[in-house]
Assembly symmetry: C2
Homo-oligomer: 476 residues x 2
Amino acid sequence: MTIVNQLTRAFPKGIVLTSNENTRPFECDGLSVYRQKPLAVVLPDNVMQIKQVLKICKINNIPIVTRGAGTGLSGGAMPLEKSIVLGLSKLNKVKLIDVENQLAVVEPGVRNIAISEAVAQYGLYYAPDPSSQIACTIGGNVSENSGGVHCLKYGLTVHNVEAIRMLTIDGDELILSCQDDGLGLLALMNGSEGLLGVITEVTVKLTPNPAFVKMVMAGFDSVRDCANAVTNIIKAGIIPAGLEMMDSFAIKAAEGFAQVGYPLDAKALLLCELDGIQTQVQLELDNVLKILSGASTLKVSESEEERLNFWKGRKSAFSAVGTLSPDYYCMDGTIPRRYLADMLEKIHKLSKKYQLRVANVFHAGDGNLHPLILYDANVTGELERTEEFGTEILKLSVDMGGTITGEHGVGVEKLNAMCHQFNTQELEIFHKIKQVFDEDSLFNPGKAVPELHRCAELGAMHIHRGELPYPELERF
Amino acid sequence: MTIVNQLTRAFPKGIVLTSNENTRPFECDGLSVYRQKPLAVVLPDNVMQIKQVLKICKINNIPIVTRGAGTGLSGGAMPLEKSIVLGLSKLNKVKLIDVENQLAVVEPGVRNIAISEAVAQYGLYYAPDPSSQIACTIGGNVSENSGGVHCLKYGLTVHNVEAIRMLTIDGDELILSCQDDGLGLLALMNGSEGLLGVITEVTVKLTPNPAFVKMVMAGFDSVRDCANAVTNIIKAGIIPAGLEMMDSFAIKAAEGFAQVGYPLDAKALLLCELDGIQTQVQLELDNVLKILSGASTLKVSESEEERLNFWKGRKSAFSAVGTLSPDYYCMDGTIPRRYLADMLEKIHKLSKKYQLRVANVFHAGDGNLHPLILYDANVTGELERTEEFGTEILKLSVDMGGTITGEHGVGVEKLNAMCHQFNTQELEIFHKIKQVFDEDSLFNPGKAVPELHRCAELGAMHIHRGELPYPELERF
């Protein structure tokens, strides 16, 4: 009996999807340029059913690709050939809210924003806020160690998770808590991209709503002035709750889409959110306004409505770009903050070279770049040009002393780049650690960590790790 | 040829210590109740020599116990029977200071405080500050994931390390950086207690000296009032740079030793340090003084000298207790903050029951307890009574929803307690991860993670992990 038949028999109707029509939406994640049809998609209702899926897959030696909402941007949830997609979207209950200790226990399919909504009545929220927070799930957030506009001040997912429950390939349950002694497995699971096990429950840390929040929107006539403002704010000892930068194309796209009042003539836009107790925010605000005194447009949010409006433009920038082009490719390099202006100039030059439009949206505070390259997959050669363009940006990031990914993970997209970052011994350790959890390599095999022969075929491309960290540091 | 002969031949004079006289200081670490003579102590001058030691040990299948300054409190650096102690104290160079990026690259044997001293001229310091910071090394800090009085605000070692270089048992060098993609090996190495490899270099994150610091010293007539003040400060949204509590015995011991002006009649003392920009500190200080208005003594540091003086008492508390008793046993449980008063009352009752004096020094802000039980190992039965007393405190910690160790590690001391905290599958994963790095289990074998047969012999003692995290959370 085929595995599809075994799965179909094992579960009630509606759990196992097999028809082309039903599995098509699962053929890719947010990195839609890569697509693969799975054997079947299983959408279990509970943990017992997950265990059953694992058992059947293990017996049949069939790979499992675990999926949350499929909003990932590096192909982590893209199906593999002859794999089963294990979708956890139905496990979407908030199980416990512990107000006093500021914790919530949730199922993996709970959407990021649903946590904040569930605890809003207690004056709490869940801090990490990826752009996809309306849709993306907490299980996916843990697997990718997601960031967001507020991670500059409030940390990545790994800093906001108290404990997880997970299943090994054998269906054994592990509980990993940041309170525990023993080896740091909780941090290891964060960002493990579905390679080690299936997350069945997450205990997240909640953050009290700040007593007072102000947002500054500043438009600049020059990209360099805007980038300098970013550096000067951080240098002044201020850690904003969010510090975002957009270039001219992104401003126009966002404003056209959301009509929030961004200055259409600005070459660059800075959004700076300050939160905390009122006196402190007021103090920081005064400092920030001094630093931003050279801006051509300068507005401070007068109301909560206005503040959310300022955010709305930024948060809809990706969707806005989506309406302007059949396809776009979102990059995720990270560079030292002080090279932000240089990088933008270089990207604009590359945009002309490759004759492809690009919108730049940066988590400027932590130097994390999201250039969106606009292309049309139906025009011969555009995808290839886009990929070359992207590779040039990643190389620039590394040359500036940065890294190839800030928060979107490796997935299938950045496997080659991993050969640059790690030496053979390091990659071997990654593989062996995967084996500890997953001996037969059934969880998302081939993703996140490149096979050694792949790196060998790429040639001797391990370029700079042998010298790290000095040259990197010197160059910062 | 014996391994001792091989080592002696391989290195110049002064590197290998073999005589009883020379190896005796290495027979224990800060947990002096456990002692073991090693085969030899090797004190290499450089990384090449470390590689040579690993090679010789591997060929001879001899365990290696890596040691920094030997200030650890759980026996992590205690020699094993027929082992080699690999002491890294001579690798004590600060290799690079990167002021702009606030990083320093140091050898593993650099003392914690030596980092802050080296970077002081740039207005920077290294934030984690274990009580032993004058002596303990950064390599040991990483291995134990050390905390300190400032970790409430500035995080543990894991939060302050940017990258490490390490050697596997085969002498291969791995570079682990928090900027990297791939699995989270850097976090895994933090707190791995010498089980996975030898750290040969650490890149630490530096913190700018705060512009303004104030310290409040408050004496209370009642332990409960003091404990409530701790909770109320945190509830007010203030994260002090340090929030320390001492009981009457500890106050008297510290004052007797350091003469810093602690109120000798107080039942409990609170030290609360606030740092940041001046206006903010002033604001927080006003709030804290309101919260502490019921204190019987209340002093705010008027000068830097006075502030350091207030700290001097706290930081010399352990030494002070050491002068009052031939031996003491330092516990390290962690409990939810709100049970601080209950815990102190119970410890005082237990002190009467066991007829042993106890001094309590708490990192109150994060609920981390350091009861110091005073005993005399030369009085028959005192050590046994001390251990029973300690076990009762650990059980109380767990009953209150806490854990058995806050920052001192497992070592040899808390192996049995690990059987309580983890189930068989979890412990098996720990062992397998050790095998990934160290196939023949030569690095500090038997420490930190108990053998499964040990847990089995203890009986079915895995009491609460199956139910975690709910009952724990509910009980907080």
